[in-house]
Symmetry: C2
Subunit: 414 residues, 2 copies
């Protein structure tokens, strides 16, 4: 491989990433359109949420009896990057696609990046079989799949690239896969757009010139975002462990979780069901009360902890934007800026991917708020603790000298 002439190296990865990009981008396009339809249908047929427990039972049975070895989802893809053992089953793609749509149709509070990453990862990994990709290149394929999935589902190719390079290690980044990851991200994003599928835009108003006082407020907001992410990760793992411990038969967990979620949705309102894009957009212009992000944290952790499918990221956008919006009641920063900061920073902190989120901020909100978003993301990342939402993430370095729980979960990469 190292002797391969440069031109062949380029052509090889160009061909592979074109195919990965076309497949993953088209899958994301289909997924996004289907998700839109499913969401619109649920919004006009609100009583569907009463069927959420049954939908949960169905997903539970599906994964229990036919999803052998793919239930770990995102963590499986990340684990295979670290310790390649066997090719990610292609069946992961239709399973996660279908069960995410079911989750959203009946009002579970979940995201979509998990779905896109798993579809991208499963598709990309098939090249290990077909094209005789060397064993040492297999992790690059998985990174390409993650990059393609993330980039196309959010319309952010640079954030997708850096997310894929950042997510499997904590506290460092390696550039070995930089070129294939970037190509996969751009091709997938292009493929999704060629299908005519667009992405939500978020209205960030004029950004004030930065100064020391505003920096202080930004840092304070960043710390609050990080603590919210920490709380989310802890609650997510804790609820998942409760379900596993108290309900021995896995298919019954989403059934029980579904019953809880429906009861809570009846109290909180259906704006917390599904992706919640309208509430995210609203957070950029209207100050949200604290219960907006509080309910979303609880409902998302219940949904995912119980075994529904979809991922954490869009709910984390929701939680961050609503929390930022809420903070604008007490902080002298515009509501849209605080919402944008929270949108990026809570996710940065929960996934331990600060640079990807800074770039995502640039791609979604332009370069104006970039320094604010960067300060919020880095502070949030610092205080969110070592263990994020992806438990398969390995710690290359200690995150900081900041928390003394670092040694607890420490393991280094081989």
């Amino acid at each position: 491989m190292r002797m391969l002439p440069p031109v062949l190296y380029f052509l090889k990865w160009l061909a592979i990433t074109l195919i990965i990009g076309a497949l993953a981008g088209s899958a994301s396009a289909f997924f996004l359109v289907a998700l839109d339809r499913v969401t619109a249908y649920r919004e006009t047929h609100e009583r569907l949420i009463f069927l959420l427990p049954l939908a949960g039972l169905f997903i539970g049975l599906l994964y229990h009896y036919f999803g052998n070895g793919i239930a770990k989802g995102n963590n499986l893809v990340i684990e295979e990057i670290h310790r390649p053992s066997r090719i990610v089953p292609l069946v992961m793609a239709p399973f996660i696609l279908f069960s995410t749509l079911v989750t959203h149709l009946f009002g579970g509070s979940a995201g979509r990046e998990g779905t896109a990453v798993q579809i991208g990862g499963a598709l990309a990994d098939q090249f290990s079989r077909w094209f005789g990709v060397a064993h040492r290149d297999r992790h690059i394929l998985l990174i390409c799949g993650i990059s393609a999935g993330f980039a196309s589902v959010f319309g952010t190719p640079l954030a997708g690239t850096v997310f894929a390079l950042e997510v499997f290690l904590l506290g460092s980044m390696r550039y070995q896969a930089l070129f294939p990851a970037l190509l996969s991200a751009i091709f997938a994003d292009q493929a999704c757009r060629l299908w005519g599928v667009g992405h939500t835009t978020y209205p960030v108003a004029a950004v004030p010139a930065i100064n020391i006082a505003l920096l202080g407020w930004t840092a304070a907001a960043g710390i609050i975002f990080g603590l919210a992410a920490r709380f989310f990760s802890v609650l997510n793992h804790w609820l998942g462990a409760r379900f596993s411990r108290h309900i021995g038969y896995p298919p019954l967990r989403p059934l029980a979780g579904g019953l809880l979620i429906v009861s809570l949705l009846l109290i909180a309102g259906t704006r917390y069901a599904g992706l919640g894009i309208p509430v995210i957009v609203e957070s950029f212009t209207r100050v949200q009360p604290p219960e907006t992000f509080g309910w979303k944290i609880l409902l998302t952790c219940l949904t995912l902890g119980a075994g529904f499918k979809g991922g954490e990221v869009t709910p984390l956008f929701f939680i961050g934007a609503a929390l930022g919006s809420c903070l604008s009641a007490v902080m002298p920063l515009p509501v849209s800026l605080l919402a944008a900061m929270g949108f990026a920073a809570v996710f940065a902190a929960a996934a331990n991917t600060p640079l990807a989120c800074i770039l995502m901020g640039v791609e979604l909100f332009g370069s104006g708020p970039a320094v604010y978003v960067a300060v919020a993301c880095v502070l949030a990342y610092l205080v969110s603790g070592q263990r994020g939402i992806y438990s398969a993430q390995q710690q290359k370095d200690f995150k900081t000298g900041l928390w003394n729980d670092v040694s607890a979960g420490a393991n280094t990469t081989p």
Copy 2:
């Protein structure tokens, strides 16, 4: 240190980075103003260039007899990050400041980031002495100094942060110093702006929507930028080695180099003397002929190889912008976009800092050209070879499977 409660960790680094930022930012402000005056004076007194050989002799004598241990400049700062041995002498700051101004007054073709990085590094490293910073934190101080210097001299805090984290390793990045580096960069940038010192803006016109064909052209341009950077690095090292080999007494090297440079400036024209900001700005609107970047490569490598001071980065901006501008004669991309791509990508490739340059592109040109700039930077970085302008940079990973010269210079970090 790991037991230090979070609040103390924050306050400690807040205090340290505030001081580093204030000092390095103020030094950059003074330096930029002085550089402006010196450049304006030379432009109205063009015959000063005839004194360049004598100015070279003067700088050579200064460093030979009084600059013991600081002549390695940027590489000394980078080496101390890897193998801390002794504190960077504070005298490095006035030496590099003064000799850079002399270089520019008499028309040497050099930059300013080397100066800013060395001033920042030397200032920051003094904390190792004064504040009882633990030995294991000393490299963080040096990273803060680089970050502060780079951020304030170019007005790009995010690029400064990532540059400082990226520059000392090749092929990977570690986040240990992320928080202090970001704070130092923002504080230094703010300090420089508080002195009323602004930065050049570059006019990037409307950016076309990306598609596969334009991506192909962008990749081709990126490869050309990378090869230009490779040529620059090779010529730079080669000329430096020639001077060392053929002229035994170091102070005579810049004297001889000065004679050569003056002769060439008489042929090429004084637009290649100094920083060359007007030519960079012109490259964004008017297509440049090939000799523009050709002359600049030759004159900069002579200037720095002979022992004049200042750094490589602004000349690399010049070379990249002029080369991109030149390529717009044959590529279906706007001249300002190609100039912006070259501006970022040639530097990314020569310094092996692709992510810093993507962020610099965003900070200088906005988010519009970001994907173009990213593709150009990553391609350029890939093809520029393992050895960039900073020979002290260590290789954490092989850059790619692309070049088989990788094993030649390979050494891994401890």
